[in-house]
């Protein structure tokens, strides 16, 4: 479970997150919905321990990210929107490197690497350098790296952005499987179709504040009916 309590973060005169609280449950996919500059990325960075909240705290399975950083992060897998691969490392080297950083070694490491490679269908390209991968292959490699240690909590920053339909399907199936295994999944997304299909709960934020929270059906109802996009625009004040 990933939770944030009373999160507040300012960058100079700009308030990125303003007293935001949330909870993402195990065995569920929770989606952060918000426009550009709404505070999604700042929130995800606070979960990953990359930035410290000015006020409030983030906990992963009860471990405070600021105080017990190593314990909290060892239970987390985080996929960044730009993947951040090393051009001169192969697919399997990326996954192995991440596994080692999560403390795996020997047979446990080898087994975990093979599982992650198989789960993402990367066996055919395992020895290809990241520089020559397509966008979809890069996403899969980054995701294999993210799940290699079998994290109980997963954070994904706009995972379907720029992906073709085949890659989206692979991602969708994987997330459903992980959810069924009881993994807590928190993601941010702009793709309303994906959000509707995958999300168990939605957290709508605007200007760093919680606007609405609930199941997709509840959010649509609070937005006055219609579809999720119309409800989202209404709740965030972009539509009357």
């Amino acid at each position: 479970m990933i939770s944030g309590e009373g999160l507040r973060k300012r960058f100079g005169a700009v308030t990125a997150v303003d007293g935001f609280s949330f909870a993402s449950q195990d065995g569920a996919i929770t989606t952060l919905l918000g426009g550009n500059g709404s505070g999604k990325t700042t929130t995800l960075r606070m979960i990953g321990g990359l930035i410290k909240p000015d006020h409030g705290h983030v906990a992963i399975d009860g471990a405070d990210v600021a105080r017990s950083r190593v314990k909290a992060l060892s239970r987390l897998g985080m996929l960044h929107d730009e993947f951040g691969l090393y051009p001169r490392l192969t697919v399997v080297e990326h996954v192995r490197f991440a596994g080692q950083l999560y403390g795996l070694s020997g047979r446990r490491l080898s087994g975990a690497v093979e599982n992650a490679i198989d789960a993402l269908g990367l066996a055919d390209i395992r020895n290809r350098f990241a520089a020559g991968l397509s966008h979809g292959q890069r996403m899969k490699t980054a995701l294999a790296r993210t799940i290699v240690h079998g994290p109980r909590n997963l954070v994904l920053d706009e995972p379907t952005r720029g992906l073709d339909v085949f890659s989206v399907r692979v991602l969708r199936e994987l997330l459903k499987r992980l959810r069924a295994d009881g993994v807590c999944i928190l993601m941010s997304s702009h793709a309303m179709a994906e959000v509707m299909e995958l999300s168990d709960r939605l957290i709508v934020i605007d200007a760093g504040r919680l606007v609405a929270e609930g199941t997709p059906g509840e959010i649509i109802a609070r937005g006055g009916g219609g579809d999720l996009e119309a409800a989202f625009l209404k709740l965030t004040g972009f539509a009357a």
Binding site: G49, L50, G84, Y86, L89, E93, L101, A142
Partner: protein, 368 residues
């Protein structure tokens, strides 16, 4: 353990990075070659007391041959410098007439010999003219009021000293140049290609990350410096250093000693390069700053001479510039003990790495 994992990943990545390897190896390969060529060119130009052989182009003159031989020049039928005189030279001189003499040769390559021929002939001409005037009752001093005698202050030992200093600077610059691109790539480059954030969300301490990266850059720095020093000394065995009066120790023992002296400095320099990379906005910025930093030994090496060099004490860089003359030139210049300097440089290295870890944990590292 995490530092070792990061070191191995960075080193594999580095070995596949042609840009970083070429940048590092370029100095190792071309630095000593450039010095070798410079030394040999200088030796060819300034070989004191040694002149190229000369010959007469067609007609010969025993009178001029005697003058030129007495001035230290030698004759050889295969010589490339030739003196062209008319067949009736001695008869015309006896009649009190003037004679035109041509000196032919490559002025750029054999300038010292040609100038010697010219000055010898000019002196003989002046003496001959004086004798003619004397025969007519005119004193030689009336026509030659000034007697010019030029003495060069560019002594052999001074030139040798400058060349020896350039050699030491070449070796001290190696740790600065070898790992420039590697250090920039694993810091500023990492941030630029957005792989830093994924790395930082792993349960790994910032100090482990910094140490892992530093170890990879430092290993390249030490290997590159050793190659530059040992390879450079092997190459310099074929140089004309001895002709310039420089007795350089070029054996393996001297090479290993110089490398050992440079190891602590290499560790410190690569730590500083990591720090510069972490504070740079992008790879290009980092590379520019690091290239500027690489010229520090050259600047310091030419500023710190004589007594200043002897007072270098424990100062990193200053100590190396002073101490390398020991194994290389068998100089007895007193310097601080190596162990003391190494301990100080290692302490500075870990201080710099601790500052780097602090930087890596700061939010500012994520801003672009």
């Amino acid at each position: 353990m995490n530092a070792l994992t990061i070191f191995l990943k960075e080193f594999v990545d580095l070995l596949r990075d042609r840009r970083a390897l070429f940048s590092g190896l370029a100095y190792v390969a071309f630095g000593p070659v450039a010095v070798l060529l410079t030394v040999n060119m200088l030796a060819a130009q300034t070989s004191e007391g040694k002149y190229a052989p000369i010959k007469f182009c067609d007609a010969e003159s025993a009178l001029l041959a005697g003058q030129l031989t007495a001035a230290g020049l030698s004759f050889d039928p295969k010589a490339s410098i030739c003196v062209n005189v008319p067949a009736d030279l001695e008869a015309r001189l006896a009649e009190g007439k003037s004679v035109r003499v041509h000196v032919r040769g490559d002025l750029t390559a054999l300038s010292s010999t040609i100038r010697k021929v010219e000055s010898t002939l000019a002196q003989f001409s002046s003496t001959l003219g004086g004798q003619r005037l004397l025969a007519r009752g005119v004193s030689m001093s009336l026509t030659s009021p000034l007697s010019i005698d030029t003495q060069t202050t560019n002594s052999f030992s001074r030139q040798a000293d400058v060349i020896a200093r350039v050699l030491i600077i070449l070796f001290v610059m190696a740790p600065f140049f070898v790992a420039v691109a590697a250090a920039a790539d694993m810091t500023a480059g990492e941030r630029e290609r957005r792989s830093l954030e994924p790395l930082l969300v792993h349960p790994v301490g910032a100090f482990s990350i910094v140490v892992g990266k530093w170890l990879a850059a430092a290993l390249l720095g030490v290997l590159g410096t050793a190659a530059c020093v040992i390879g450079g000394l092997v190459l310099l065995q074929y140089s004309a250093l001895a002709e310039l009066g420089i007795r350089l120790e070029t054996g393996l023992e001297a090479g290993l000693m110089v490398t050992l002296y440079l190891v602590p400095l290499t560790l410190l320099v690569t730590a500083l390069q990591i720090a510069v990379g972490l504070w740079s906005k992008n790879f290009k910025d980092a590379q520019s700053y690091l290239m500027l930093m690489s010229f520090a030994p050259a600047v310091l090496g030419f500023v710190m001479t004589g007594e200043r060099l002897a007072q270098a004490g424990l100062w990193p860089l200053g100590w190396e510039l002073a101490a390398l003359s020991g194994p290389l030139l068998k100089s007895t210049t007193p310097t601080a003990p190596f162990a003391t300097v190494a301990a100080l440089e290692l302490a500075l290295t870990f201080t710099v790495l601790a500052v780097c870890a602090f930087r890596l944990r700061s939010e500012a590292i994520l801003s672009r």
